[in-house]
């Protein structure tokens, strides 16, 4: 129904964590969600769910060696995912990035929401992820380099004719955080949610279980569920 690219400009701000956990929360509410790890050179979405190696991967699809049906992995009755390959990473040139849009369009037909996790930076691979989506959800940390990254995502989205859904401020709670109202003013976008910095996010990574499942009462899990509420309001009409 709708494809949302999760982007940041700056790396390491928490795109993959937000992507995985939103997928879990929304699928548990009965929405059909598909996740795509479009971080071609550094896929980590599989790791967040405890998969070190999955076969075949997005790389096989993009190089024409596997069909869409082969690469979609079902994680629950309402959650599916296409993971990347952790081993093959230097072969970006051999992949047909345009096929990413075909894949997300196909997934969109059987999903209420497709979440596309994108690479850091604003190179061709990120552009392909933005093009493969209608909407862009910008993730940032409440600091200056992240804000600059978010502004660059806005520039890219505008060039590609894509709409920005809003902003998620991740790892908040520090004394020197840029407050949400200031983020909204400088970015001219709505802050859809803030997710507190929470050590349980890191431990859930080690456990291979997204924090909303592993530690549902942790601050980050509470915040991500609230963010999911806001996303549903923005995106998804009442359930089937």
């Amino acid at each position: 129904m709708v494809r949302v690219c999760i982007a940041s400009g700056k790396g390491g701000v928490g795109k993959s964590v937000i992507c995985a956990n939103l997928g879990v929360v929304l699928s548990e509410r009965g929405y059909r969600v598909s996740l795509v790890d479009a971080d071609i050179e550094g896929p980590t979405l599989g790791l967040l769910f405890g998969y070190e190696h999955t076969q075949p991967t997005l790389h096989d699809y993009l190089s024409g060696n596997a069909s869409a049906g082969d690469v979609v992995k079902s994680l629950s009755p309402t959650l599916s995912a296409v993971f990347g390959s952790v081993q093959l990473n230097a072969l970006l040139k051999e992949l047909e990035l345009e096929r990413l849009s075909e894949l997300t369009s196909m997934l969109e037909q059987s999903s209420d929401l497709v979440l596309v996790d994108s690479p850091p930076g604003l190179e061709e691979d990120t552009k392909a992820a933005v093009r493969a989506s209608e909407e862009v959800l910008v993730v940032l940390n409440p600091d200056i380099p992240s804000v600059a990254g978010a502004l660059k995502v806005r520039i890219l989205a505008r060039r590609e004719g894509r709409h920005i859904l809003g902003v998620v401020a991740n790892r908040t709670g520090g004394e020197y955080d840029i407050p949400p109202e200031e983020l909204e003013a400088i970015l001219e976008e709505e802050v859809l949610g803030t997710v507190r910095d929470d050590p349980l996010v890191r431990s859930s990574l080690v456990e291979g279980i997204p924090v909303v499942s592993a530690h549902p009462e942790s601050p980050a899990a509470v915040d991500i569920r609230r963010l999911a509420d806001r996303l549903v309001e923005k995106l998804i009409p009442p359930r089937r």
């Binding site: 600091d143 200056i144 502004l151």
Partner: protein, 123 residues
């Protein structure tokens, strides 16, 4: 300190901030700003971008690169509202924040007080 080549802006900012108990220093161009910066040591510098002589970008870079002033908080205050300008200010010139004119007096005063209290960090 407010640096702007438009008298009206200097007066407006001075009025908004002095009413809230801040001491406001004004400068009309980069040269005057650099001189007053050394004498007055302001906590915050608000910089217009398009000024005769040094641009706000250049002035910001100078402030951020010289040892005596590098810890001064600098924010742009400009009519330029493109994302590209904001990136240039925050990344290339090292500005700490960016305001777009026109401003809402109440909101602006709140933002200035946030910058004085807890200037954002670079990650």
């Amino acid at each position: 300190m407010v640096v702007d080549d438009e008298e009206d802006i200097l007066n407006l900012i001075e009025r908004i901030l002095s009413r809230r108990g801040h001491r406001v220093i004004t400068a009309r161009d980069g040269r005057e700003a650099l001189r007053k910066l050394k004498e007055e040591r302001p906590d915050l510098v608000l910089l217009d971008i398009m000024m005769p002589g040094l641009s706000g970008y250049q002035l910001c870079k100078i402030i951020k690169q010289s040892r005596e002033t590098s810890s001064t908080t600098v924010a742009m205050l400009t009519v330029k509202s493109d994302d590209e300008d904001k990136v240039r200010a925050l990344e290339d010139s090292g500005a700490d924040w960016y305001f777009t004119k026109p401003i809402d007096a109440k909101r602006f005063a709140r933002s200035v007080e946030w910058l004085l209290r807890n200037p954002p960090r670079r990650g």
